[in-house]
């Protein structure tokens, strides 16, 4: 387990001592170093990067380069592989819009995808521009590699799957899926919005063509995310949004696009976000992603052990401790998810998410058509907090 001392790094935790924040799959709290990094842009740098020649602009440029390098190091990628976007959704949209579907039209996804990685392709499928097929999970919410072998074929253009599921916390075997995709001449897009913040991810080892994530789910600021892509993929894709800084040369009758990642980053960027995201990556790196993952698994195990015997509690996802992570999704029989969530908040200040978690087809598939309650843990949560959560939930179950 991680030291509880790190909680002192989070001003929100210090301010709201009576709140137990278990909504980390939605967004995470920010450590002081990230807040300071964001503030520093507005208080100390101020200019715009890569354009003006003055001192402040050069200073910002240095910070942006440094931030990109930090993210690249954190993900085992090169700086030129990183394209900043406003969030994971935009990064996925970038690929969906710019990908060349002229030769192959089949896209393989999963029924458990977040709307952000489902809708960009579903909208194309509804327009008959592509064919979209979904892999279905096993009863415990995990995916069998064999199913991907059946679905991915020589017609497949792209496999778009999650790294870690946002409703169950289960992990997809992305490395194996990438291998199957490449063997069939297809490419793979990994939605790692729930993966990057909670697991050690090495982009080059994973061999994904595209990987996307959001900053705010990994202690970083809101409004900043990234697409990490192989250099050749960025070279071959046309830009998604165009504007300032995306070009080498513009004439009235011709455009020469800039080298990636510049050609994808139109207009003034979210500088404070980029700097803050770099600080978040640095903070996580110091703690160690494996330590964080173990910590969350341990908390998930505690929650499961304390609550799995409750008869009126429907816990989704695998029952084996080894397959569970820091996401604990459940329903209380006879009580709506929203009521359970509000009661946890009223009774002990426990902040959880209720609803379909932007994954309605997945929730429908799991039989939770009216949604569920999700408690998601992170590095600053403690065993005591999970015990309070379990104890309070047991009380709520009494009224079912």
């Amino acid at each position: 387990m991680l030291s509880e001392k790190l909680r002192e790094d989070f001003p929100i935790i210090q301010k709201y001592k009576d709140v137990i924040y278990l909504d980390n799959a939605c967004t995470t709290l920010k450590p002081q170093v990230v807040i300071d990094a964001v503030k520093a842009y507005y208080e100390e740098y101020g200019g715009c990067a890569g354009r003006s020649a003055h001192r402040l602009s050069r200073l910002v440029d240095e910070k942006i380069v440094e931030g990109r390098k930090r993210i690249a190091d954190f993900l085992g990628a090169k700086a030129e592989n990183i394209v900043y976007t406003k969030n994971c959704s935009e990064a996925i949209n970038l690929v969906a819009k710019s990908f060349d579907f002229s030769k192959r039209k089949k896209v393989v996804g999963t029924i458990l995808e977040h709307h952000s990685s489902m809708l960009p392709f579903e909208i194309k499928a509804l327009r008959k521009e592509i064919e979209l097929v979904y892999a279905k999970p096993l009863p415990d919410g995990t995916f069998d590699v064999e199913q991907y072998k059946e679905l991915i074929d020589r017609d497949t253009a792209l496999v778009a799957v999650h790294h870690t599921n946002n409703t169950l916390g289960t992990k997809n075997p992305v490395r194996e899926i990438a291998k199957i995709a490449h063997e069939n001449g297809a490419q793979i897009l990994v939605d790692a919005a729930q993966g990057v913040p909670h697991s050690e991810i090495k982009f080059q080892d994973m061999d994904a063509d595209y990987l996307t994530f959001s900053g705010h789910k990994m202690l970083g600021p809101t409004g900043i995310g990234a697409l990490v892509a192989k250099a050749e993929r960025l070279e071959e894709m046309p830009p998604f949004l165009v504007g300032g800084d995306t070009i080498e040369q513009v004439k009235t009758d011709s455009i020469v696009w800039a080298k990636p990642p510049r050609k994808f980053e139109a207009g003034i960027q979210h500088y404070s976000g980029i700097i803050g995201l770099g600080a978040a990556a640095e903070y996580l790196k110091k703690i160690g992603m494996r330590n964080i993952e173990e910590h969350e698994k341990e908390l998930g195990k505690v929650a499961f052990e304390l609550l799995s015997s409750e008869q009126k509690l429907k816990i989704y996802g695998p029952r084996e401790a080894g397959k569970r992570t820091g996401i604990f999704t459940f329903n209380v029989r006879g009580i709506t998810p929203h009521q359970v969530a509000m009661m946890l908040d009223k009774m002990k200040g426990i902040a959880v998410r209720s609803g379909v978690f932007c994954a309605q087809p997945g929730m429908d598939f799991m039989g939770a058509c009216d949604g569920a309650v999700r408690a998601s843990f992170y590095l600053y949560n403690t065993k005591t907090e999970i015990e309070v959560f379990a104890d309070t939930l047991k009380k709520v179950v009494q009224i079912a």
């Binding site: 929203h338 009521q339 509000m342 009661m343 009223k346 009774m347 009380k395 009494q398 009224i399 079912a400």
Partner: protein, 302 residues
């Protein structure tokens, strides 16, 4: 969950008058209510919020109670809504009565109200009736006086008469009863009955007491038939000098006395009948025998 939304709408609308915090809730409740009456789903989640709030507060006190409330929340909401509806109707009636009659009970509140007295009038506790005018019966050497402002046309005064007569039988040798005929202007023949009672009074208690009883007993008749019946009742009293009575009645002889009582009552703030004054206390409307008896006993002990 329309019922919960209706309750919330009313409660938050009232609370919203005093605090902006509740206006958003009221708006949410209205949205929910509006959807419900259009047979659409109440999608604001307000019902769940209310249920969660109530059950969360109850759970630490009693899990079975919280479970019951949670299970029957819709039914309980319906009951509360009905109670609220009923109490709202009563409140509205009360407010109207206060505006129209100066109290919340209105005409049916155990007293006949004077509609010509301004609303908000109350009996001045520092003022007492006088012995100057009134129809007295009872002890000649009295220790205590029971003043009654009553109207012969008031059904409540008539109803209370049995209590008065019982007290008269019991305390007639120690207490003087002074009845002040106080016509309710909106009642038919209220002034005429007051005049006729004075005419009976001037012929002595052997005429006055039976005439008084007959007025109360035959209230509906003379209110329907008018002066002729007031006179025929007098004619039926044994020993009455009817000619004198009739002359008295048509002479308008007691108009001034009646107005004197009216002015006295207005000065005291008497806005209804019957009203009793015993010592320092007063009683408005139908009053029990025990209450009046206790008041008399207390005064007799002084």
């Amino acid at each position: 969950m329309a019922i919960a939304c209706i309750i919330a709408l009313v409660v938050f609308a009232v609370m919203g008058i005093f605090s902006a915090k509740y206006r958003a809730y009221a708006k949410e409740a209205f949205h929910c209510f509006f959807n419900t009456i259009r047979l659409r789903k109440c999608d604001s989640g307000l019902d769940e919020k209310i249920r969660a709030e109530v059950v969360s507060r109850l759970l630490p006190i009693s899990a079975p109670a919280a479970k019951t409330v949670n299970k029957h929340f819709e039914l309980l909401s319906t009951i509360f809504a009905l109670l609220m509806l009923v109490s709202s109707v009563y409140s509205a009636i009360g407010l109207y009565n206060f505006w129209a009659f100066g109290n919340c009970n209105g005409q049916q509140g155990g007293a006949c109200l004077l509609s010509d007295i301004a609303s908000g009038v109350v009996i001045n506790p520092n003022l007492r009736p006088t012995n100057n005018i009134g129809q007295s019966f009872g002890a000649a050497n009295y220790k205590v006086v029971v003043y009654e402002f009553g109207c012969y046309s008031c059904s409540y005064t008539a109803e209370e008469e049995s209590v008065v007569q019982r007290l008269y039988q019991e305390y007639g040798d120690q207490v003087q009863f002074i009845y002040k005929p106080y016509p309710i202007p909106s009642h038919a023949y209220s002034f005429e009955s007051a005049y006729s009672s004075w005419c009976a009074y001037e012929q002595g208690s052997q005429i006055y007491i039976p005439y008084r009883e007959a007025l109360f007993n035959k209230q509906a008749e003379w209110q329907q038939e008018g002066n002729a019946t007031l006179l025929s009742i007098a004619k039926s009293i044994d020993g009455v000098n009817y000619e004198e009575f009739e002359n008295c009645f048509y002479s308008g002889k007691y108009v001034n006395d009646t107005m004197e009582v009216v002015n006295e009552g207005h000065g005291l703030g008497v806005y209804a009948t019957p009203v009793f004054f015993i010592g320092d206390r007063h009683f408005i409307g139908i009053t029990s025998y025990e209450e009046l008896k206790n008041a008399i006993e207390e005064e007799l002990k002084k």
